[in-house]
Symmetry: C2
Subunit: 205 residues, 2 copies
DNA sequence: GTCTATATGCGGATAGAC
DNA sequence: GTCTATCCGCATATAGAC
């Protein structure tokens, strides 16, 4: 990692706990192992570091659904085999993957926390947060469930409503256990129950 | 309102947008209409103002279920008539009341925002936030739904799981529309759909 | 690209007059 | 209980040597 990358990385860690204003340039420099004045050779201001984080996050968004083991929009074969093989345990696994990816992926989880803290202060940060954690996830799953209704795997129901019932427990548990990482097992247990109930409600036959 | 109360009130408003560190004692004093030095005749420190807010919040928690139109634990008659009369529209109304109370009540909504921002910085604040918005709500509704299952209004199902499906969309929508108050109508529309689906799933007969 | 030194301003808090 | 004046420390950022 270059010094510049290290700065961005350490800044994200500090912003995600102390917030932007609550993080001093000196604390970032300390974490990197340079003097605060040296940092200004890499970035012209503290704000520019935050802007870099936001830009990086935008570029990550596209890669995410892949990382969660979901079929890509353009890969028809993979999608077909995915839908065909879906059963209760696979659905549980899918929800776990989404939950744990958001909770544990070093970049995403720190961005979740920073977005939470900075939502009323930094509109740029909030826009990414909202897109990623509130809009994309539900839209993606609505598409998924819509397809599964079509293929007769799930009963007739509004895919949007289904997606909300699938995703909002994940969102809630992320909120709750981001601050309580030692008890992730509790969260997974609760999520397991919700998803099995979800499957019971919507499975066909 | 006494000056002391005004200070607490304005401080909560400012903390809920700028955070604790992001709010200056001078900005609180300005909002109240006194000099920053005068404020120290009422509170010995900025921290003491925050502590007062937290203490006030704790004392408010007990009153909340009443404010949301739910039957009190000790009022048997009211509870019976409440359960007996429950239908789809009443359930929609109940969810709307909870949602709008959390979103619009001046004290609670500002505390929600402050709690969101301060959760990684101020454990005292977070403890109230978690209790109020993550634990009590679900526990209360689990009790409610458990009773309704007993009375044969709802089908056999785990009341805890039902409560999570009832509450997490509310929680999600609060997160989303706290930052977008002009579009509350969108939120209510979405909530309406979720609750009607909930009723469809769990009603008996 | 790293350092030391420094400019400048702001924030929390206190002292003491009225 | 309000004000003015002030202390002290810290934060962002710049200048300039190496």
């Amino acid at each position: 990692m270059t010094t510049k990358e290290k700065i961005v990385d350490e800044a994200l860690s500090l912003f995600s706990v102390n917030g932007y204003k609550g993080t001093t340039v000196k604390s970032i420099a300390d974490a990197v192992g340079i003097k605060d004045s040296s940092l200004y050779k890499h970035f012209k201001s503290k704000q520019e570091i935050l802007d870099t984080i936001v830009a990086t996050m935008w570029s990550h968004i596209a890669d995410m659904s892949n990382a969660m083991g979901l079929p890509a929009d353009d890969d028809v074969e993979q999608a077909v085999s995915f839908y065909a093989s879906l059963d209760e345990n696979l659905l549980v696994e899918l929800s776990n993957q989404i939950f744990l990816f958001y909770l544990k992926d070093s970049f995403v989880s720190r961005f979740w926390r920073m977005g939470t803290i900075e939502q009323f202060q930094n509109p740029e940060v909030y826009r990414v947060f909202r897109k990623l954690f509130m809009e994309e996830s539900i839209a993606y799953q609505a598409g998924l469930f819509g397809e599964m209704v079509k293929q007769g795997i799930f009963i007739e129901a509004d895919p949007q409503v289904m997606a909300v019932y699938f995703y909002t427990p994940i969102y809630f548990l992320l909120s709750k256990y981001t601050n309580d990482l030692e008890h992730t097992d509790e969260a997974l247990e609760m999520l397991d129950k919700q998803v099995r109930e979800f499957y019971r409600i919507y499975r066909k036959g």
